[in-house]
Symmetry: C2
Subunit: 298 residues, 2 copies
Amino acid sequence: MTPASEGRWALIVHGGAKAIEPGEEEANRRGVLQALAAGRAVLEGGGAAVDAVEAAIRVMEDLPVFNAGRGSALNEAGGVEMCAGLMDGRDLSVGAVGAIRNVRHPIAVAKRLLGEKEILLVGEGATLFAKENGAEMVAGEALVTEARKAALEAMHDTVGAVAMDRGGNLAAGTSTGGLAGAKVGRIGDSPLPGNGLYADNHVGGVSFSGDGETIARLALAARVMAGMAEQGPEAAIRDAVERLPGTGGAGADGGAIAIDRTGRIGWAHNSPAFAVAYANEGGGEPRACLGKDEEARD
Amino acid sequence: MTPASEGRWALIVHGGAKAIEPGEEEANRRGVLQALAAGRAVLEGGGAAVDAVEAAIRVMEDLPVFNAGRGSALNEAGGVEMCAGLMDGRDLSVGAVGAIRNVRHPIAVAKRLLGEKEILLVGEGATLFAKENGAEMVAGEALVTEARKAALEAMHDTVGAVAMDRGGNLAAGTSTGGLAGAKVGRIGDSPLPGNGLYADNHVGGVSFSGDGETIARLALAARVMAGMAEQGPEAAIRDAVERLPGTGGAGADGGAIAIDRTGRIGWAHNSPAFAVAYANEGGGEPRACLGKDEEARD
């Protein structure tokens, strides 16, 4: 069967369901466009969706404006523990790490796990696996920025990407520096299949950001997957996001991005902002915006 | 609205989707009946479903015949790391721990987390939280039995319980000593909402056991919840379990127990055995059996 997308790739990335501080708008916009360009290069070269997702997320992990990799939030002990997940819609394989320390690119460690029996490694074991598998290790301080040290609020943003490659394969990924001030060892929805992400070639792929505890308790990624075929990706996300109380700021708000098996791109959020960039083959110039309000004004 | 169950409690517990070695049948049967009795006492006394689930699982964590607490599997480093999860269907709150060490009752630590912002703590942070909150700590060796040291196969069983109290509230719980020979830091489906467990007063509660990676990749608890209202608990589980390849032994097999919002009890498995015990108010003597084959013969 020829994929419904007829060999066309599609890609969407986001930089977190959050409030964007005045003066940080352009850094967010440039960041998601840079991540999109990295993933797009993989897809245009005929690469796999999982590789495009990893490439896009690696870019955001290096940018301090995003709470992932460098620029991660500090937990209550003043340390950095990160989470990342990657799911391959070809065979439903999952690679994920939780409360991992001292790695530059948690998403790369998650990808390395795709070939293993284990799907989720946490804490000390995750860091050990990274070391043993040649991941780029860094001092904890290298992940900390001055801006994060000053952040007192319980910020909770996550970066993510969803891709469909020319073979019609879907992949979804997430990466986060966690929740500022959280207990050591805290994991939210980000690395958990059916909670923060999911990908299945027969349905689509989805990646969440926002209040991790509430997203996990509601198993929102599973709900989007259940609704996507009938409703399309954007309406399915909108229904899921409506379940979040949406108090704004540090409350139970969030957003998500998705691509369905026919290549349709969708996104929605109830957070104050949600920086996204997306493109698809033959669709002209990539688009970037900082939220649905901005999209509506364009 | 009066609950459809009209104030009657219901409870089901299981001792793992696994193969039961010859000679261990009675220890499994006695174990699930003992766990059932502990949970039943809570429900008959008018206690809450979450307390009944905790009480039942605590019993199984102390019995070496089950892979949870004492009797936990050894990971590839020869150590014990455990996972447990508890979900309260009243408000969808979740308490869960992953790769926790040195606690006698992981389910009690999970329950203590129900009142916190965080829903899932792992590794060092989980163990620290347990210590700080007065959990009973034990030396790692206290959790290891001779039988587990001798176990070479990748066993993967989990204990679980689902309860409905007289107020119509549902709760589901899991506890596991993990996968023998697994990497340090490995987490399977057990502590993850939508994967290994779920509870929602409007639908029901479900608890899984079996091949943790495959159950998580398929987000099976979310699938059972999506099907339970229409199909009833047992048919919904049967459909979910059919997605597991079911190679037997160490393959991707599993089983689950559930109670729907009307108090109906259901269970199914494709593992060689699945020790369960269940009872409901006014339903006569508790039942225990080691699998569907035995139930059919009765």
